[in-house]
């Protein structure tokens, strides 16, 4: 079984590399994560208040963050494809396409509810705990339980 077979409807956060990562080479991702966590906190993206302002259209801030991130992302991916840029290990960069399923609608709405309640998507949860709001450990455990429950009833849900 390749790891992809079981990810048929879900290619998020995929590792397309054929090189086996050792514990040491995984430290790169730890460093990128640290950088990312600092940005999350310093731009107050992990703030429940910022998320409420976004969903109540009281502030442009979060739209600016997400919009400019997407613009930089689109340009970067286009450059990578156009110039056939390789990884630092010389591999061809592969990005899995996203396959449409009704889950993106139903699941998307449910995640939207959760996002507005907790003021956090999964990434900010980890950063919020880091800033010392320890009760968010409970939110994270509950999110893990939600993920597990999805796996448990997946075949009974419309997709």
């Amino acid at each position: 079984m390749t790891h992809l077979e079981n990810k048929n409807t879900d290619t998020e956060g995929i590792n397309a590399s054929h090189i086996k990562d050792s514990g040491f080479s995984n430290l790169k991702y730890l460093l990128v994560g640290i950088f990312f966590g600092i940005v999350f906190v310093k731009a107050e993206i992990i703030s429940w208040f910022r998320i409420q302002e976004m969903f109540q259209l009281q502030s442009f801030f979060m739209y600016g963050v997400i919009g400019s991130a997407v613009v930089v992302g689109i340009i970067s991916v286009q450059i990578i494809k156009r110039f056939n840029i390789k990884t630092i290990h010389g591999e061809k960069i592969e990005i899995q396409p996203k396959v449409f399923s009704k889950g993106q609608i139903y699941g998307g709405l449910l995640f939207g509810f959760g996002w507005a309640i907790t003021g956090a998507c999964p990434g900010p949860l980890f950063a919020q705990i880091g800033t010392g709001v320890t009760v968010i450990v409970v939110t994270l455990l509950s999110a893990i339980a939600g993920t597990w429950f999805y796996g448990f009833i997946k075949d009974k849900l419309p997709h």
């Binding site: 879900d10 998020e12 956060g13 590792n15 397309a16 790169k28 991702y29 730890l30 990128v32 994560g33 990312f36 966590g37 600092i38 906190v41 310093k42 731009a43 107050e44 429940w48 409420q52 969903f55 009281q58 502030s59 442009f60 991130a69 930089v72 992302g73 689109i74 970067s76 991916v77 990884t87 290990h89 396959v99 449409f100 993106q104 609608i105 139903y106 998307g108 709405l109 449910l110 995640f111 509810f113 959760g114 907790t118 999964p122 990434g123 949860l125 980890f126 950063a127 880091g130 800033t131 010392g132 009760v135 409970v138 939110t139 509950s142 893990i144 939600g146 993920t147 597990w148 796996g151």
Partner: protein
């Protein structure tokens, strides 16, 4: 210099830095940006329970767990070494609304009246902390990704299903924040 870093960063600094995570992860190891997948890997590693959705080689995806552990450490560093000493600035409309639910503490990035151990054992706190978290975990996996996996990575790669997902995230958020959350906050 440190003084400037300690101030809250503007969107036009934070947004592009987040966007750059997409090419950085691709170039350093052919990894597609996505965070909610870490929750699935944790399930696969700890409680697979013979469910086919959790039977895959999660070790191959362990980079994702290093990444989220880094996000946690980034939170620690930012809070203890780069903290903004001032309370969070929020718009006057929101401040007024929240005051009507007796939420007035703006000293942290999350209001203490809602997100604290004391609050967890109230009905309002339980819904905010536990039910909210469950919806985040269930919804992101059902949608096949979160803000990072769909809204940023997926749209960066011009994938229309990711645009659909992102629009649904926003619709869900608008409905909750404007139509349902006021009743929860009033509990």
């Amino acid at each position: 210099m440190l003084e400037i870093i300690k101030e809250p960063w503007p969107w036009y600094v934070a947004g592009p830095l987040i966007g750059l995570t997409v090419p950085i992860l691709l170039i350093i190891g052919n990894k597609s940006f996505g965070i909610s997948s870490s929750l699935r890997h944790i399930c696969a590693a700890c409680i697979p329970a013979n469910i086919s959705f959790f039977k895959y080689d999660w070790k191959k995806e362990s980079w994702n767990l290093f990444f989220v552990f880094g996000i946690f450490l980034g939170g620690v560093i930012a809070a203890y070494f780069l903290a903004n000493p001032n309370p969070v600035e929020i718009t006057p409309q929101l401040s007024e609304q929240l005051a009507s639910y007796s939420i007035t503490d703006h000293s942290g990035l999350l209001p203490k009246e809602l997100f604290s151990w004391e609050s967890l054992f109230t009905l309002r706190g339980f819904i905010m902390i536990v039910v909210g978290g469950f919806l985040v975990g269930f919804g992101t996996r059902y949608a096949g990704g979160c803000t990072s996996g769909h809204a940023i990575m997926g749209i960066s790669n011009l994938q229309w299903p990711s645009l659909v997902a992102t629009i649904c995230f926003m619709i869900g958020g608008f409905i909750m924040a404007n139509l349902i959350l006021p009743y929860i906050l009033a509990l």
